[in-house]
Assembly symmetry: C2
Homo-oligomer: 173 residues x 2
């Protein structure tokens, strides 16, 4: 519902109705609508951070790391498009500590890509780039929630490999 109508347009009563709970019963499970938004966001960004740490922990080849990061990120967006739409589009609807936490996790994920590039540069495989350029490269993936078509002819794996190709070429010394 958040993905379809936008977070601010969905009321707590509407959510309750969709899951067959009264407003009071729903508040037994969640403290606020914002908590729901936070739960959705934190799940996916935490999973991306964990996957990134895992990939960097077990793979040392710089180009293969980019390929694996690329595949996991694209699969996540591809298979959870409604949730990822909410994560990306509504990130500014969170407030206070919740907002700060999600922003920190986003930055942590970006830092994993940065580490991958810095370590690749130390091996002579990549050139060094600025954080704003890393944001740009991640934007290639993040923006795809707006155009990905899970029923389309191009699959997540193929898109991920092509994007990894663009990233690796853009990083060549």
């Amino acid at each position: 519902m958040f993905a379809e109508k936008g977070y601010h347009a969905v009321g707590i009563a509407e959510i309750g109705k969709a899951v067959g709970l009264t407003r009071g019963a729903l508040y037994h499970h969640i403290s606020s609508k914002e908590e729901l938004l936070y739960e959705i966001s934190v799940q996916y960004i935490s999973d991306l951070v964990r996957s990134g740490e895992d990939i960097l922990g077990r793979e040392v080849d710089p180009e293969m790391r980019i390929l694996l990061l690329s595949r996991y990120l694209m699969e996540t967006i591809f298979c959870n498009q409604a949730e990822m739409t909410v994560c990306f589009r509504e990130v500014n609807s969170l407030t206070g500590e919740r907002r700060r936490f999600i922003a920190r996790m986003h930055l942590e994920y970006q830092r994993l890509w940065e580490r991958c590039i810095v370590e690749g540069a130390a091996k002579g495989a990549f050139r060094k780039i600025t954080p704003v350029e890393v944001k740009g490269l991640l934007g290639m993936y993040f923006y795809s929630f707006l155009w990905l078509d899970p029923k389309g002819t191009v699959g997540a794996g193929d898109i991920a490999d092509r994007f990894a190709g663009l990233v690796i070429r853009s990083l060549r010394p």
Copy 2:
């Protein structure tokens, strides 16, 4: 207001109040809330298409074309962040003919970049890439509405030049 709260959360009465008009007086100027959204969207995407046609019409060097497309696109997002947020985030809130027209303009803009790459490839400056990769490269720019900081230390021109550098490297044969 659309950028801040989301299109669906803003009522026509609220818009009228913000501009000091009654609901009736507002409907004298616009036929619907969706028309407002359409007017915002069409203005910027039309401007991008015009600028792209202009750049491709007067510049022939493939790399310089990418640099100029990059600068104009980034300046547009940088200087009109609220409007561009609405354009990108709310594109799926449009319906019928309006939605189709905006989608066509987006595709036309993407085609200008594709033409630039194809003509660059014919000169041996670039390799050919697929439309999905062009979408990816444009995503670098489009996603920036979510993180650009007009009061930050990195200006639009600097970001545009760095992004153009990434694009050009990713296109090297």
